[in-house]
């Protein structure tokens, strides 16, 4: 008798937890292969590079690569709907999607010629960065 009650309580707890999770942050951890399989319905050759919680409750931010180009798609908890587009922080007016995408494209720092660059700061400093700038 007690065991049955315990089992029932556990079931309720799990259901509650799942529904709370669905409304708040999606803390599930889908595997890359599962998501790749799902998205391949839309893009047959898609590769999933990373999955992270989106900055919006209930969504996962999935970084994908199709034909060598990177993109971001937002996936719902039920894994039924996908959102393509930009997530924008209203108050800072930041395009969060673009910011994430930009930070992914890396460049070979060492391959950029610096001999003709204008040096701002101590030339022998150990923390270096290169700035492409428009004089206007």
């Amino acid at each position: 008798m007690i065991r049955k009650i315990l089992i029932a309580l556990c079931a309720v707890a799990v259901i509650l937890a799942a529904s709370i999770a669905a409304q708040a942050e999606d803390t599930s951890s889908p595997s890359r292969q599962d998501v790749e399989k799902l998205l391949s319905i839309l893009y047959p050759d898609v590769k999933v590079i990373a999955i992270a919680p989106a900055m919006v409750g209930g969504l996962k931010e999935v970084i994908i690569e199709v034909k060598g180009e990177k993109g971001i798609v937002y996936l719902d908890y039920a894994r039924q709907k996908a959102i393509f587009g930009s997530l924008v922080d209203i108050r800072t007016r930041t395009n969060l999607t673009k910011r994430t995408l930009d930070s992914l494209a890396t460049v070979d720092f060492a391959s950029i010629p610096l001999a003709d660059a204008i040096v701002l700061g101590n030339p022998t400093a150990r923390n270096r960065a290169i700035v492409f700038d428009d004089p206007d």
Partner: protein, 108 residues
Amino acid sequence: MKQLVAESKDYVFFLKLMPIIQIHPDAYKKAKAIACEKSNEKALGMLEDAYAGKDVGEPACETAVIDDNIALGKKLDITGTPTIILPNGRKTTGAPSVDDLKAMMNLK
């Protein structure tokens, strides 16, 4: 960036002039004029003038540097300025605060 290098000798920024001629047609000439300046100190001064909208004069030499920078920017898919290339190869566009800049440059 100016603030950061004034505060600390541990940071340096290598500026490559890449005028976006579609939006700023005069910037090409300004960039070439600055590129012709051999003294780094004077070049920095000219750049400041350019930012302030002052005239920096005509290019005093023939130089391929600006064209090279524009071509490189295209190859690296740099479309906005300023774009900072961090030590780990990531790009970021815009002028970050001193704290953000320090944090970004110390990332692995």
